[in-house]
């Protein structure tokens, strides 16, 4: 049943069949939106994890600190969704023409409309033998968090964190709070450089060091070495040094869960599934499909505010907002459909500081500290691209961000013309010091991937004045 035209849309809303693959934050919120907006047909939720939808951000914070058990982050429900849940079984294939999803247990499930919400997974340590050593961890699922928490509670002599993006920084922060020795190895010049740039990254580097992290930048981990019983013992770094460690947490970013879509004809790859601003998936020819929608971390969608570049966002708030739009659009037609144009927003909690961003900080050629000071670690910095405000980052100053969000939405001029509260004595525009954008960065939580739906390169071309 196709749902074009008001009558068919109505029939679909009453008695159609929607399948959601990926039963986590985006899948759940989309399902709730469908029911909220009057979808009374049948709904199937397919998820490869055995648990009901749970929240991931606490896993690297409350859970590692031991404040909350890993299996205690189940998400609250906005309403009942009356779904047929197929949990613990992955989808392994999609037949677009036949409108069928294939599951690993051999079942095939037909759909009228499909939502892809399969998210991303942690990029594993590249060396397969080393990856399997006892003591090497990644962090994406509640199972990962439970295993890592158990190891941290056993008080390893030293933890190695590989990669100082948001995840690596949060893990290092938790280790220090637990009183554990921790070394952080980062390829870039400072932590978070891929997400926030070198200027703010330097502030974070100081936070690491003042909290007793052994932060080593401009180095990579070249090998992890185990003892004969297969336990991690030592790590070798590119500067020729070696350190004794009994735990290593691999924080090298993530990969889209799109393998199950291989050969389906959709524009899907390691950086997600491309879709339009209304969440409809693109096929490999760049043609938008009618009955397949995408939301959450796995989606790559164009945003007019950022010159129609496709953004690949790993943000909690984006998963919720995009799922709501996808749910709405799946049961709407024509002009009733809405675009997903929410301004990206992200938070992180580390070393007792609340870090927030709105907009896309990497989409910038200039920045300026508007309020507070970098030295005091309490500030708001605005980012600009070709003379307009594109992002803001706040440390312990969350209350101002709504104001900056408005500036971004209005494409307000950069440098901003208002006189801010608590302005620093000298206000000057500077380069945010982002690394070469052609290099993939594990630290960024927004990746700008060009204009083409099928473009899988990491491209970002700021105007260098």
């Amino acid at each position: 049943m196709s749902a074009d035209g008001p009558e068919r849309a109505h029939a679909f809303k009453k008695g159609g069949h929607i399948v959601i693959v990926g039963a986590s934050l985006a899948g759940l919120r989309a399902a709730e939106t469908l029911r909220e907006e009057g979808f009374t047909g049948s709904l199937t939720m397919i998820g490869d994890e055995p648990d009901q939808p749970y929240d991931r951000p606490p896993l690297s914070k409350q859970v590692l600190l031991g404040m909350v058990p890993a299996e205690h982050t189940a998400l609250p429900r906005r309403r009942e969704i009356d779904a047929d849940w197929r949990l613990g079984v992955p989808a392994i294939g999609l037949d677009l023409d036949a409108h069928r999803v294939r599951l690993a247990d051999g079942q095939e499930i037909g759909f009228d409309r499909l939502l892809i919400a399969t998210g991303v997974r942690a990029r594993p340590w590249p060396n397969e033998n080393e990856r399997d050593l006892d003591g090497v961890f990644v962090l994406r699922t509640n199972g990962d968090a439970a295993r890592l928490r158990r190891r941290l509670a056993a008080r390893p002599r030293r933890v190695l964190v590989i990669g100082a993006g948001f995840m690596g920084s949060e893990v290092a922060s938790a280790c220090r709070e637990l009183g554990l020795e921790v070394t952080v190895a980062e390829r870039g010049p400072v932590p978070l450089v891929g997400a926030l740039g070198g200027v703010i990254g330097s502030v974070v580097a100081r936070m690491h060091r003042e909290h007793g992290v052994d932060l080593r930048c401009r180095v990579t981990v070249t090998a992890l070495e185990g003892d004969p019983s297969g336990r991690l013992r030592r790590a070798h770094l590119s500067d020729g040094t070696a350190i004794d460690v009994d735990a290593a947490v691999v924080c090298l970013g993530s990969i889209g869960n799109t393998e199950w879509l291989a050969g389906s004809g959709l524009a899907a790859g390691p950086r997600g599934v491309a879709c339009d601003a209304g969440c409809r998936a693109f096929d490999v020819n760049g043609i938008v499909t009618d009955d397949v929608f995408v939301a959450g971390d796995v989606a790559r969608a164009p945003n007019p505010l950022y010159e129609y570049n496709f953004l690949f966002l790993e943000h909690w708030g984006n998963a919720v907002a995009q799922a709501e739009v996808a749910g709405h659009n799946m049961i709407s037609c024509g002009s009733a459909r809405r675009p997903h144009l929410a301004i990206p927003a992200f938070w992180s909690t580390q070393f007792g500081v609340s870090i927030r961003s709105v907009g896309v900080p990497t989409f910038a050629d200039e920045m300026m500290v508007m309020q507070g000071s970098l030295e005091e670690r309490r500030f708001v910095a605005a980012y600009g691209h070709r003379g307009r405000v594109t992002a803001a980052v706040a440390f312990d100053q969350a209350k101002w961000l709504d104001f900056y969000r408005e500036l971004i939405m209005a494409a307000a001029p950069f440098p901003p013309s208002f006189v801010p509260v608590d302005r620093p004595p000298v206000m000057r525009s500077m380069s945010p010091e982002f690394p070469d954008p052609a290099l993939p960065s594990h630290g960024a939580t927004v990746t700008i991937t060009g204009h083409l739906p099928n473009d899988q390169r990491v491209v970002f071309t700021p105007a260098r004045a």
Binding site: Q52, P58, H72, R77, D82, V89, W316, S354, A398
Partner: protein, 76 residues
């Protein structure tokens, strides 16, 4: 019970931490850490905290689904 705080909205005003201190705690000046699945005994306090949050960032479960139900079943 299950709850989640939308930390893209939370402004660290700490009202919740006063009203339900066993569930919400400030970590540093503005960073909020909370228990997503607190004991049902906290229900009243959590509801008061959610109502008092100036930016309405706290979402508390609207259904009665037991937090332990799982596995390939027909969970409503």
């Amino acid at each position: 019970m299950r709850l989640v705080v939308d930390l893209t909205r939370c402004q660290g005003y700490a009202q919740c931490a006063f009203l339900a201190p066993d569930v919400f705690t400030m970590h540093g000046e503005e960073a909020l850490l909370y228990d997503p699945n607190p004991d049902d005994a906290q229900w009243d306090r959590v509801r008061r905290a959610a109502a008092a949050c100036p930016v309405q960032a706290i979402l508390v479960d609207q259904t009665e689904i037991p937090a332990t139900a799982q596995e390939g079943t027909h969970v409503r």
